[in-house]
């Protein structure tokens, strides 16, 4: 090799041999421990548990039921309230404290029905609006039409869920992870 920087000494040679395998073992052992004790999915965290179990981050979600100031119970998508990087990490390792962070953001935002931007456009075209998207709402964005004012959220209920696979019955089931969290005036949405 040309123009090389060279280390000298056997100690460094030992480091060059054992540092990398040692790091892999350390990280993987921590990941195995965390996965067995917490909700960290075996797919993530450097323990090489991908394709080992059904329980992947894609099968985890947060259900958000918000009660608007007008008393309507609507559903929100957690991904709309978080940066994508934050949302991805949360689904790999759900923790109760994360729900509080999402809840605070929901309570501080104005929300609108999912299809309302299209509704405004349809009204301007002289057509009839479609009236939202089956109860799904989203935050009011800065670039939304001025006609959209949005409404405040009075209370919210948030809960972690995961889709589990029952091998014996070859069926999928939705299961709660932990207890739901209720925030805001009156203690939250609910079905």
């Amino acid at each position: 090799m040309e123009g090389k920087v060279r280390w000298a000494g056997d100690e460094i040679e030992v480091l060059a041999r054992w540092l990398v395998p040692g790091l892999l073992v350390l990280v993987a052992m921590v990941q195995v421990g965390l996965s067995l004790r917490t909700e960290l999915t075996p797919w993530k965290g450097g323990g090489f548990g991908m394709f080992a179990v059904v329980d992947s981050p894609e099968l985890r979600t947060v259900e958000i039921l918000a009660t608007t100031a007008g008393g309507e119970v609507v559903r929100l998508d957690a991904a709309d309230f978080l940066a994508s990087r934050e949302w991805r990490s949360m689904r790999s390792m759900p923790m109760p404290g994360q729900l509080g962070r999402i809840g605070e953001r929901v309570l501080s935002e104005r929300i609108v029905p999912m299809g309302s931007r299209r509704d405004v456009a349809l009204v301007q075209l002289g057509r009839e609006g479609v009236g939202g998207d089956e109860g799904w709402w989203r935050p009011l964005y800065a670039d939304d039409p001025v006609e959209l004012e949005g409404v405040l959220v009075r209370s919210v209920e948030l809960g972690w869920w995961k889709i589990s696979y029952d091998g014996e019955g070859h069926r999928l089931l939705a299961r709660r992870i932990g207890e739901p969290l209720r925030m805001g005036a009156g203690g939250g949405g609910g079905r």
Binding site: M1, E2, G3, K4, V5, R6, W7, I12, E13, L15, A16, R17, L19, V20, P21, L23, L24, V25, V27, A28, V32, L36, L40, P42, K44, G45, G46, G47, F48, G49, M50, F51, A52, V53, V54, P57, L59, T61, E63, L65, R75, R85, R88, S89, S92, M93, G159, W161, I163, Y165, G167, G169, H170, R171, L172, L173, A174, R191
Partner: protein, 285 residues
């Protein structure tokens, strides 16, 4: 003009006879460039560094280049430890191994040592998880995955006795459960005996080949053990990544396998290079 054929011959010989560390460094730079992170600052940094290493031959095995690459990878991935895929961890380890090898007295031997341990340990933990998870020996992981993962749909349709309409409905049911989990309900997935048999075959094949690779790379042994390890690794790369296109992982395993070959093992070297070409070509299909 008469000197041109001689110069070409010398250049070709220089490529073929370069020590294995030169080839491994260059292929790793190529992997970072082609199958590195997509988007974000890390991609830009790696494109500049890996591109410079490939364009300037003196830089390809230079310690400072590899220290910069390893530092960038560890720095940018540090905030995403619970999200990044396992092959990104492996890429971080390998970049660090390249930096250490570039500093060591014998780069090729250092790369070979680290590659051997990384392959062996990664497959050991992968096998451990498949046994710990409890969804392999009864075939349940693949029974679900064959139906739920669209990448395995061709297998489910050809060998699992599933109809296309059943698959489409199963994907819809899963989406519906996920979008409104609190509404209750459960979804029974399609699949009978054929699917169960296929799931069991895939499960035992996966555990067997991964355990074999772990043992053949980790245990001490002579040339025959090493050769068996190479065959298993090549078999795994071809059989797995033809179905599940995690090319970054396949690429990295191929390069680490290549780093193990000493001296004149040109057939093995050609096999690994062939596997790399096959991985690239499979993306076109």
């Amino acid at each position: 003009v008469s000197q041109e054929p001689g110069r070409l011959r010398r250049s070709l010989a220089a490529v073929l006879e370069q020590d294995s560390s030169g080839l491994v460094f260059r292929l790793t730079l190529l992997a970072l460039l082609v199958h590195g992170p997509s988007g974000g600052a890390l991609q830009t940094v790696l494109m500049v560094l890996a591109g410079a290493g490939l364009v300037l031959p003196r830089l390809a095995g230079h310690a400072l280049l590899w220290i910069a690459i390893a530092a960038a990878m560890w720095w940018f991935h540090a905030g995403d430890l619970f999200w990044i895929d396992n092959h990104k961890y492996l890429m971080c380890y390998w970049a660090l191994a390249c930096a250490l090898a570039a500093l060591a007295r014998e780069p090729a031997a250092t790369l070979a040592w680290n590659g051997r341990w990384l392959i062996g340990l990664a497959f050991l933990f992968a096998t451990l998880w498949k046994l710990l998870g409890g969804e392999y020996l009864d075939g349940s992981f693949f029974r679900y995955t064959l139906v739920a993962d669209d990448r395995l749909a061709p297998l489910a349709l050809w060998l699992g006795g599933i109809e296309p309409q059943e698959l489409a409905l199963a994907w819809e049911l899963e989406l519906e459960l996920l979008s409104d989990p609190g509404a209750g309900g459960e979804a029974t997935l399609p699949g009978g005996r054929e699917l169960s048999r296929l799931a069991l075959v895939l499960s035992y094949y996966t555990v067997a080949i991964e355990l074999a690779i772990a043992l053949l790379f980790l245990l001490p042994g002579g040339d025959k053990i090493r050769l068996a390890g190479h065959f298993c690794l090549l078999g795994f790369i071809v059989s797995t990544y033809a179905l599940v296109p995690v090319f970054g992982f396949g690429y990295l395993l191929t390069i680490m396998g290549l780093s193990q070959i000493k001296g004149g093992g040109w057939r093995l070297r050609a096999s690994y290079l062939g596997a790399l070409v096959a991985l690239e070509l499979s993306q076109l299909l």
